[in-house]
Symmetry: C2
Subunit: 349 residues, 2 copies
């Protein structure tokens, strides 16, 4: 049973504008004017000093809540994302948070685990809590939002919602271009899971670039992820399967780093060396990419930067600047050990 006894040691009442005013024998209004340096009011320097001194003395801190009630901006943002913790979303969040805090904004984060009811409910609750704007990370928004919104990696276009996305075409160019320059012509491709938000656009871009480079993409060199996993096990079985069918490819373009790590293991178990026999290219540049042996060549998504870009855009939007519908962000090729010059002679099987 809860006890009511504990007298909070931290419960000293905060001083309010009124108390300050009473102490100073001034009206709250005057004090407010001084502390906010409001224009159009004449207050003699002596009084100003008196007020400021008292404010400092009592550690006066204006109540944001009362301010908000006036319909002023709250300097608060609501951030919607699927999960907190490791990975993609956290990186984006981190980039956004840096910008927001630097600009004097605080933010709520609301994670919804892709639950539709929560995705629908949270924007309203956030509005009730007075957010000036909403930042949605990898969140499938529906319907009109109750506040200015910018999204990162959103797959659909809502009117008035600016979307920050990776330039998938550029990513494909970097990836295939790298392999092409290393002499690879027989490349195996990995298609992402159908439910993953990037699968579609990434695949289309990859195919476009492949055509542009006159690379053939035979069906039996395409493998398809299906499991909902976040471990290397994701890539192992499909790669194993691929090896049973065809062995005459010199490179494997993976959907992400996690699956690439599984693929490398599968290749290794089949007696193939990476990168000597097969080059493997990842996507994302997760932390583990640089740890594993061989370290992974990959396409880095500048997640932090995307978050920062989104936050900056949202702040601009709040300042009534016009924004483009879509903001593309450039990926980056990170060359490590898992890719090398293509074999010129067929490997003995």
């Amino acid at each position: 049973m809860p006890k009511k006894t504990s007298s909070d040691p931290s419960a000293q009442r905060r001083v309010s504008l009124k108390m300050l005013a009473e102490y100073l024998d001034l009206s709250p209004a005057t004090v407010s004017f001084v502390l906010n340096n409001a224009p159009g009011r004449s207050i003699p320097p002596a009084t100003r000093e008196r007020v400021k001194a008292a404010a400092k003395k009592f550690g006066y801190q204006p109540s944001q809540i009362a301010r908000s009630l006036q319909g002023l901006k709250t300097q608060t943002i609501g951030i919607l994302l699927p999960e907190l913790g490791e990975g993609y979303h956290s990186q984006v969040l981190s980039g956004a948070a840096d910008v927001l805090m630097r600009e004097g904004y605080f933010f709520f984060t609301a994670h919804h685990r892709h639950r539709k009811d929560l995705v629908a409910e949270y924007p309203r609750i956030l509005q009730a809590r007075g957010v000036d704007g909403i930042l949605a990370i990898d969140t499938h928004l529906e319907g009109a939002l109750p506040a200015p919104t910018v999204s990162v990696g959103g797959h659909l276009h809502l009117p008035g919602v600016t979307n920050v996305v990776l330039d998938h075409h550029r990513a494909a160019e970097l990836a295939l271009g790298h392999l092409y320059r290393l002499g690879h012509r027989k490349i195996a491709y990995m298609h992402g899971q159908p439910f993953s938000s990037d699968s579609q656009s990434r695949w289309q871009s990859t195919m476009q670039v492949a055509r542009a480079l006159s690379l053939e993409v035979p069906n039996d060199l395409v493998i398809q992820l299906d499991k909902d996993l976040n471990t290397p096990e994701l890539g192992y079985p499909v790669t194993h399967q691929l090896l049973l069918q065809r062995k005459d490819f010199t490179a494997l373009l993976c959907f992400n780093d996690i699956s690439a790590i599984g693929s490398i293991r599968a290749l290794h178990d089949a007696g193939l060396k990476v990168p000597e026999d097969v080059s493997v290219l990842g996507f994302d540049d997760i932390q583990a990419a640089s740890y594993i042996v061989p370290s992974l060549t990959t396409i880095r998504q500048p997640l932090q930067h995307m978050g920062a870009q989104a936050a900056t855009s949202l702040l601009k939007k709040l300042a009534h600047e016009k924004l483009p519908e879509t903001i593309k962000v450039d990926p980056e090729l990170v060359v490590r050990e898992s890719t090398a010059q293509a074999r010129t002679h067929p490997r003995r099987s």
Copy 2:
């Protein structure tokens, strides 16, 4: 130049209690009573229904801000942490966030990068924004806090602040016990960086347990981390150094997983096999621990659980329950590939 033209598509004014009351031809008070199911007031069912129907019809959402102003609880928590993004803090945050959201709380996260001025400033700002309580993750708090506070991994004890920490003694028992049972008697120890918050307590616990097991800890089997790195490079040079001096140890107890990965590489480069020649034990259980070859046996810190525990405790504290000063959380041994039976015969050098 910012344009003022953009007419927000999302700007339809929210309906307030007053508007609702006017529409219903009732006083705001009555509406408030109905919607809050306030006791001690007699309202006929018919009116109740009318009110509820109207509220639903207009999508009425009470303003948390106005409520807060009454001095009511805001159902808001402020979370202080060093960084957002990958790693330790994010995991703890994730665990805490789950509990808070489940209980209907929202939270601000404020990251301070260990900057003293921010650590001092944020609690006050959070209070001005009306938080009911503060959760501090790996944050060096000083002085009295303006709200009930619980901390995770805080190194110092503040009066009235409950601290959630790992049971370091238990961790040492798990680690050394595991190695001991595998027959290891000559164990090399790694001491954490002096600036890392856990170094001290972990080292002390380890030494205690070593004594209890009658394990000798000769000076030349102790290595000391010093660099402020978050990559395997952290563990490489010190392990290399150790190998130059002594080669007759059968196990290495690392300070964390990151350094363990570097150590494994150093051992590998020196021609030693893990775990056949040397067993390596990590700490933390980061994601990469299961990816690398050999996968890492490690002591898992239940970070999510610690976060959840802290959040639960804070909510209890807000309900005026008495809490212990310190809450210890149990670590967990995760056995993977990097540890094995100790060599019974000296390795050929």
